[in-house]
Each structure stands twice: as structure tokens, then as C-alpha cells.
Point group: D2
Chain length 350, copies 4
Amino acid sequence: MKAFVMEGVGETGITEKTRPEPGPADAILKPTKGLICTSDCHTVHGAIGDREDLTLGHEIVGVVDEVGESVTDFDAGDRVAVGAITPDWHSKAAQDGHPSQSNQALGGWKFANVKDGTFAEYAHVNDADGNLAHIPDDVSDHEAAYTADMMSTGFAAAENADVPVGGRVVVFAQGPVGLMATKGAALQGAGEIIAVETVDARQELAVEYGADHVVDFQEGDPVEQIMELTDGEGVDAAIEALGTDRTLQDCIKVVKPGGTVSNVGYHGDGEFRHIPREEWGVGMAEIDIVTDLCPGGRLRIERLLRLLETGRVDPTHMTTHEFDFTEIEEAFEMMDEKANGIIKPLIHFD
Amino acid sequence: MKAFVMEGVGETGITEKTRPEPGPADAILKPTKGLICTSDCHTVHGAIGDREDLTLGHEIVGVVDEVGESVTDFDAGDRVAVGAITPDWHSKAAQDGHPSQSNQALGGWKFANVKDGTFAEYAHVNDADGNLAHIPDDVSDHEAAYTADMMSTGFAAAENADVPVGGRVVVFAQGPVGLMATKGAALQGAGEIIAVETVDARQELAVEYGADHVVDFQEGDPVEQIMELTDGEGVDAAIEALGTDRTLQDCIKVVKPGGTVSNVGYHGDGEFRHIPREEWGVGMAEIDIVTDLCPGGRLRIERLLRLLETGRVDPTHMTTHEFDFTEIEEAFEMMDEKANGIIKPLIHFD
Amino acid sequence: MKAFVMEGVGETGITEKTRPEPGPADAILKPTKGLICTSDCHTVHGAIGDREDLTLGHEIVGVVDEVGESVTDFDAGDRVAVGAITPDWHSKAAQDGHPSQSNQALGGWKFANVKDGTFAEYAHVNDADGNLAHIPDDVSDHEAAYTADMMSTGFAAAENADVPVGGRVVVFAQGPVGLMATKGAALQGAGEIIAVETVDARQELAVEYGADHVVDFQEGDPVEQIMELTDGEGVDAAIEALGTDRTLQDCIKVVKPGGTVSNVGYHGDGEFRHIPREEWGVGMAEIDIVTDLCPGGRLRIERLLRLLETGRVDPTHMTTHEFDFTEIEEAFEMMDEKANGIIKPLIHFD
Amino acid sequence: MKAFVMEGVGETGITEKTRPEPGPADAILKPTKGLICTSDCHTVHGAIGDREDLTLGHEIVGVVDEVGESVTDFDAGDRVAVGAITPDWHSKAAQDGHPSQSNQALGGWKFANVKDGTFAEYAHVNDADGNLAHIPDDVSDHEAAYTADMMSTGFAAAENADVPVGGRVVVFAQGPVGLMATKGAALQGAGEIIAVETVDARQELAVEYGADHVVDFQEGDPVEQIMELTDGEGVDAAIEALGTDRTLQDCIKVVKPGGTVSNVGYHGDGEFRHIPREEWGVGMAEIDIVTDLCPGGRLRIERLLRLLETGRVDPTHMTTHEFDFTEIEEAFEMMDEKANGIIKPLIHFD
């Protein structure tokens, strides 16, 4: 079968691989639609170390091609979604409420990390009954592909932010995760949502997904702008959806005493992140800093699919480009360079 | 000044009273708009015992007429909202996170209970700095009046229901509190909302406020209908917004193991409420039954006003009738009899 | 192999059975020590329906005899404990934080319910990596056997009770679960623990496990006694560890507004449990009623074993009698009749 | 009256002041016993800026000398404790569950910060009904003085750490707050407590208050020692009770994915605190960093007093020295220099 792989650091290509086989609890999917994630780009640039011919990709939906003997709830031919994170559900971390950390830090992240990813003619899913979800008839494959990571991660940012009904939330960066965090804040009952972004098209989407104000960091210090918008009070919660030291610091600076900083940004470089001591209330202002890795699993994905089924959100407005699987290298390069105003490229496998 | 009072059990009238005086921390308001609540009717029928010339009403907004000497954040002339519940914020219950229970069960409920209510030319508010909130310029008095009880109680029902993002919620009864619970469930990110109601106009409002399905209990057992809608799984959360034994039982019957029953119904009669033992999982199915009394206080009301300011909800669609203060007895009778399709009558004091 | 079985409603006996075989993820244990639970008695009396030659028992520790091919963390010869509840960890309920409810209400309860229990020469455990725990060298089999149900259930009662540090807790009934709930309340930082019990030996153990007061319900209404002990304030949390309508009602009556009723009692009969409407604050006093089924799983059992290893609790003081496996019928009858001051009988399989 | 004051940065002395007068809701206390806190030393060294003749001290108990006209629950002659933090209970932060942050960051901290402290013949307490607590007969003034800050702060560290029953906790530094955090971890049901400390007497007290292991940071990297003690798993929760960059970093390094870092250390210098990026799981390991300022208020203090009344803790073992009020400058200097093995000096005002 054909697979889009990281051949080594900085190198990608389409190669021929053997179709994977399912273990007793596993499934093999035939992808139909996929989305490229910025973290695929990070991986190719060496963020998680070198890999040889590792299949890329973790955001797809597809059709079940084969299931292992102990799988009970899915059969060949079923139309399914699967999370980017596929936890080991019996691990101690999962029993502790942290399935994304199963067995080790970020241990639920298997696709294109510790095993082949999903950008191939066939993809292997561990624990099919625990990690697949049937796609409702009224939900398109295109929509459903957004549940794997963008919706799950973005919404989690807002869920962890402990937003009071009617509270104020700021979301730093309006890439696809940030946009879904903005939507997530709306779905948590935020009364006022401030999006920080400078790119026009992303600003517009932020408003569509629920932002009441857009702060352009090119037009002045975002901290000052946010404090002004909130009459000096600061926000109840700040969401970091970029992964830089600067934005994390800004989150701490704009949160009021007793508020929450919710990080979903991938912090890919540097030895440290910096907590500004005074704005942190010298360690006593009751500002929590919480983090998450994209929640996965059947229940999570089913609930996200339900939000698509009842029309609570349309994530497809983030799809700026479409490609056939044969053109995936071109899509990848465009995503890597954030060229042509790309936000999210859809890949057709079918 | 004129006041609309409960003269005794079953008797109401407009009478002349002395204008109240503020204590050091208090304020006197001049109401501009008010709403009649079904619980005013319960009170007149003797639900909380006999009262003599007790001024009725707990849902108003108005203008500050006078403040006590230690009030710092409000002045005469300010346009303000006030919650139906005005807690003693330094009470031990408030310190414990239960301000509505200050000093005793339901102790934050003062208006038209342990002191005169708000349906008068002037109304007394304890702890002005803690219990008043400025109404933003963009929010009308009519809208703001809904924060006092309907929005606060209805939304609390959903907040307490511990709704997972994308989860399923059922709301029993679509009176004004139930309608706001439906809206509240949407604001908590529910993926599927089922409203139980038989009156056409209320069914329509339920859909407007976010219901995906309406179950008419006149067309069959609502429990069966809900189980069918959820493929036999049951719901993540059930909200009781009526106050009857039957609906509370039905809530327990439709919640899945691990789910939550959130009660905001006022249970006004009978010695007991009944938990159906088997559906409750013989006491081991991890179904929580939680309750609340309308949250009050400045912070709560400010946050609810913010939701009005940013257009997240328009509660005025529940206003079916309007009256001048001089006509309040007529409004009260209509509310008492639920005549003419009344949902919520607005009273003009100005 | 020999097994102690329920032959039918009201009938028990020791019979010969085929040794179970492990599935790929399972293990077969050879029990060394076991404890008889009152719920075994309920089962024999038909509480969960008729069964034919069902092996009884769910509280044991033992040695691993064989593991399935996909088990990675346990081997033959390992000394292990196992919870009474052995969840399906990838079920949707487990993903939702309710593993004891996997697949259906109480679905994690498999031993002596939907499959053979543990009172046999060999016992089958589903998902060995998820449900077994190694016993530390310093912990005896006798001690470890208490983690399966008594410690897990009793402590859960206190964990769910949301006890504030220094708060007041009452525990109704001081059977082995109630005694561990008393100890659990102490481990949650309760400032004052009131145990309700009439049997001398149990009263003494209650004090040993942390009770500051013992209320004897034979010497007057326990509600009155508790209200007097708390200067009329009531308690922050009430734990129901018996399973009767009366004690559940009493819990609601003694909890203060904003408090919690935590049920772990098995409510085995009657169509309803009754909530006293007025003491429940007419549905608005913010009294939560929560329930649980004994938490299981490797992480839970490891943590309970750690409490034994560091000497935080010695549950063996509850062991009033000891029997060889060959004498188990006698032990069972004594437990069924609560004869000879029995609290908990230890069974030696080795 | 005589008062022990900070005359300016680095300067202290006993001076004559006018006895304070109570506002309507306030009380004047006559201190009987007090404790000097390291933060008094920080203050004198300029940590919160310059002050002129500011009375020092925030840990005392005493007798009510006078109350304002609206105080209902306390009278002259009552023996009372008062928290170091005396919140404005009607402030928005208090309504939001963060009373210590009332009106501004750390705004509940009034004594020896924004008004005179307690080391004087008379001390002023705002909101007497909300901030005083009666001392039970069985509790000595000496014991009760520890509720004001040491017990409240130390226990809060453990409460915020979200310790699972049987979980592992490490507490960095065993000064009086750290020692109470160790005790607090035991009161939260920790299964294994590791104390980090190098001073012998503090190590011994740590064991008395519940530590199972003591790690001496002079004998090797504490992170390595802790990882070895936990078989490489790390701890469920790490408590920072010192206020240095190094210990905060170490907390993050020893917490396992999904765990909690709970800070109560006062971070008094430096522009930043540093989060080690990799051990923080690149922002995705679900490690929460939470902080607190000593909880105050009547309910809190009453609950802490109850723990003393029932003998759950004896904090007086931390008292290494005793002085009369006339000798307070000597006590202060000894505390400032941590001379003579001082842990906590008790001041007799009576």
C-alpha cells in the first residue's frame, strides 16, 4: 500500500509499505478523508527526534476494513472516526483520569509517533472498541475529520479553563486549535470572548466561532489591549493555543486573581517557560496553570460527532484547500510554509 | 408609597406603606421593570406560611434612590439589577460556597419571604455592594429583569448538571425556568437537548432556546420516549424544573449510570419525594441528585448581564404580557391561573 | 477444582468445577486468603435473581497461576490483590469516569454476579494488567484482602462525601463498610466524626478507626442526638453504609444546607427510597445525594495497598473469626446470621 | 498602647500608638498569644515596599475588647481566634470562591500590610462576624494561634494538591508551613509522604507529622532521590513550601503526568519562575500548577479549631522558643536569622 512518510528529519515522500495487521482488539481502517496538522510539520522537522519511514498523519476518518477477533462493536464496512490520541484504556494513567498520558507522558499519542500514522491506504487502530466511533448518517466525512484533533483539543482548552457562565475568556492565537478553543469557550457559556490574532481571515473566522473582540497584537501590546477591554479587571480564563513563551506569559498577565491559564499549545523549543513572578501574585494569587493533550477515545469522539449532528458547530469553514492523497506532499509543503493563507488542508483518500 | 402585598393567605391588594430606610450597607431602589414569578403565587397560597401585608415580588430592576453610608460602589441614580436572592456574604454558608443558604436553609431568600419584596414604589436591598450590579448601557431594563431569577436559576440547573461537552440533557417542563435551563444546557455545550413539554407556545420557545427534540408527555410516557431517542442509553443529565414527584422520578429513570439529576423545581407539597430504587441502581449506580436555590450576588448578576450584552440569549421572548404597576393584580391573577397562554408578565413601574 | 457455590436461591454447597482458562488479557489466580461479604449472603437469598452453581465470593488475594498471552505486567507466581469490581476499562462508562458502571449499571461487578466468583481453588480475572495489583512485601495477605471491597467501598463513601478539612461527618452503621467509612472520613481530614451503631464491639472499633462520638440509635432518635452534638447545625456530610430507607432519610435530616449525603449502602428491597421533602429544603437546600459502587482496578488497589504498607490503617481488627476453605459453609452461615458477634470472617485457602 | 512596628525598611521597634476604634461591623481584640512568621521578616526587609510605623504581626489569638454596633455573634470577653487573612466577604473575588484575593491580588491580606498588624496591646479586626471564631474550651490559646496561618496555609497546600487516597506526595521544605503541609497531606489520605529537608530537628518533626521518608537535599539531588523512592513513577502531587525557583522546578520534575504542583511558597525575588519545558511535558502532560494564599474567615478557623479540639494535630511541637511581648524584638531577630534552631517563637501578651 502507499504511505506518506517522514523518511528522516526534513525529508518526506510517498513510499510502498505492507498493509498492517490487526491484533485481537484492533482494527484496520481505510481512510476516506484526512487533515494535515501543524504538528506533522513539527515532527518532520525533528521535534520528536529522528524517524525512518514513519507514516505521518493523525487526523482521518474512514471505513473499517478488518477487525481483530475480540472486537465486538465494529465490523468491516463501518464508517468511523478515530481520535488523534488512542489511549491504552487499562493503563494506570487512564484509570487516574488521564488517558492521554497512558503509560508515559503523552503516551496516548501513538499515530506518527511510536507507530505509523494515518496517511496511508490503510491505518492500524489499537483497541477498536475503545477508540473508534461510528459517524452518524447526517455527518459528512469532512466534518467528522475535525473531531480527531482540532475540535477535541480546542474544546478541551475551554473545558479546562473552568469558564464561569458569563465569564470573560481570551484565546491567544486563532489557528485551527485556537479557533476551536474560541468556539469551545462559547460552548462553555463565556459571556465575552477576546481572540488574539493578526491574520484577517483568521480574525473573521474567530468572530464566526464566537469572539466578541479581536485583539491584533501588531497594533499594540495585547496585554494592554485586553486589560483595557476588561476595564482593568482582567479575564477569568486565558487560553494558550500557540506554544510560545511570550503568549504563555501574556496569559498569566491578563488573568485576574483566582483565574485560570489553560494551555494546549505545543511548546517545542527552549529550556524553560517563564512565569512572570509579580503578575503571578508572587505564587499566591490563586492563578492555576493547567495543560492538556488532545482527549481521545470512543466516548469523546461520539460526543463531538453529536455536536456536528445537531449543528452546534461547522468546522469545515477552516478548510481552505483540498487535495487528493496523490498530491499530499504539495499540501504538506503548503502547510509547512503556511502559504496561500492556508488554515487547514483536506486530503481526499477516496 | 404604594405596595402590592399579600394581605393574608389567598388575599392580595395594593396598599400604602412607609418607604424603607437603608442601613449603613444597604440601598433603596426605585423599580422600573419587574416580572411576576410563579413562586409569588405559591407564597400567596400559603406555601411558606401566613404573612400579613407582606410586599410581594423578587424580580425587578430599577434606579438607586439612596445608599447607606458604607456603600462605596453605587450611588443614587445608578441603573441596577438585583438578584432574587440577596445573600449575607459573610455568613458561614456563603464562606462554604453556598450563599443562597446563608444562616439557614434558603436563608438568602429575603424578598417577599422574611422582608418586604420588590413590587412597590421603593424596595430595600441588603448589602448593596455585594448584591447590586450596574446594568450595561446596551442592555434594556426588560432584558435585565430576567437575570434576577429566571436566567440565574435556569442556568444554574444546567451548570449543576455537570453536562459534558457534546453530552445529552433532558429538561423536564418548559416554564420560564425550564426554558432558561434549556438555554443553559446549550450554554454548557450539550450535544443534544430534549425538552419535555406539552403546550405549543412553550414547545416553540424550547426549540428557539436550543432544544433538539421536544417530548410531549401527553403523547406517551416521557421516559419511554426519551429512552427511545437515546437508543436506550439514557441521558448524561436530567433537569427537573417543575417540582413534582413524578418528574423527579422520571429524571432518575432516564439518567444513565454515572449521570446527574439536577433539581431546581420547588417541591411545594407532600411529605416525601420518591426515589425509584431499581432505576437508582439500588444506591450504587453513581447517579447524583443535586439541587440549588437561585444564585444571587453582584458577580453572578454581572455575568448574566454580560450574556445579554453580547447577545448570547434574548429572554424577552418569554414575555407574553405587559402591565402597568397599577394593573398588577390583574397580572398576578392571570399568572396564578396560567391564563391566556401566559408565560411571563412584565410590569412597568416607570 | 473445588468451589463454594450458590446452588440456587437459599442453597449453598461445595462442588467440583473445571478450572477456568484465561483469555488473552486475563489471569487465573490461586486464592490464598479471602473474606466473606454480607452481599454474598444477599446474593444467596436471591437479591440478584436465581443462579445455578454460581461460585460465590469477591474478596480474595492470591498467587497468579497463569496469564493470557497479552498480559505484560504479571506472571505466574506473583502475589496479587484484585478488586471486587473488575471493570472493562475501555467501556464508555469507564472513559466517562465511572468504571464500576462499565457497559451497564453496576457492570463492573462480575465476580459472583455475571461470572463465577473467587471462593474456589482457582479464580478467573478479566484484564489482568488493568485489574491486578502486586502486594508489597510488607503487607500480609490478610491485610491485603481488605482492599478488595471493605477499604475501597468504605473509603469511597468518605471521598464522595466531599468532607471539608475539619468538617463534621456522620457515618450510619458500623459494619465493616461503615467502619472503613469512618476511617475514610478520618483520612479525608474530618474534624469530628460521629458513628451511629448499637453493638458494643462495633462501637469500640468505630472509636479505634476515628469516631469522636458514638450515637446509639437504641438510646433515642439518632437525628436528635446528632443535632444536639452539632449544636443544631447539622453535619457537613452524612454517609449511609447500611442500605435502609430509614437511615437514608436520617442522613438527609442531619445534613446541613449545602452538605452531602454519600450512599454506599446496598438498597435491596422496597419500590422506593424516600426523601423527606422539608428537610431536603423543598428541593433547594443544595443537599447533594451521591452514590457509588466499590471502585476497582489496579491503580485503586495499589493505592490502598500503599496505605497498608505505610501503616495508615489496620483493617485486620475487623476479623473476628477464621476458617479453612473446607469450613467455608460454616463461616457463611455465621455471616448470614451475624452470629457470635461476627464482623468479618477470614478464609484460609492456603 | 504599645505596638511592635516596622519603622522603615530594615528597622523595627516598640512604639506608642492610639488604640484602634471599631467600625460598625468590626471588633477590637486584646491579644493573648501570638506567633512570629517569616513573612514578618520579609516585610521588614522591604518585600512589600516601605512602611512607616506599621504594626507587625498576623498570627494571634485573644479576647474581644469591643465590638461594633452591627456585630451579632461576638461580645466583649469572648476568647477568639482570627485568621491572618481577613477577607471582604462581599467582594466579587470572595463571591467567586477566592476570598483571599478580595478586591485585588492578595487583597484579603490586611494585617501588617494595608493596616496595622496584631503585635500590639490591641488589634483591629474587620468584619468580626465573618472573620472571628470562638476558641473551644478544650483548646489552648497556644494551640489556637497556629490556626491563623501555619495550619491554614499548610493544610491548604495539601487540599489544593488534589491528593488521591493512598497517593504519593512530596513536600519541599519543612519550615512551619511545610510541616503543616506534611500533616495536611496525611489528613488528605496520602499513602506515602516524602519530606525534603536537611535540618535534623525539622526532619524529626516531619516524621512526627506524617512523613514516611525524608530526603536530605544535601545528600544528593532531591529529584533523583524522589524518583528512586517512587520507582521512577514520580509523585501524584508536589507541594512547594519554600518560595524558590529551584524548588518549584523540582516540583515540576518529580510530579508524574496528570499530577499537581501546589505552591504556597512566597516567591519574593527574581523576575521569573522557570518551568522546565521537557519535564512539563512540552505543555501537554496534564500537570497542573496551582497556588494559594492562606484561607481565612470564620468557617475556616472554626474547622481548624475543631481539629485541635479532637486532637487530630498538635502544632505546638513546632514552638521552639517563648518570649514575653516586651521581648518581641529579640524573638524577631532570632526568627530573622533562623538562629538557635528556631522554628516558631511564641509570644505571650498576657
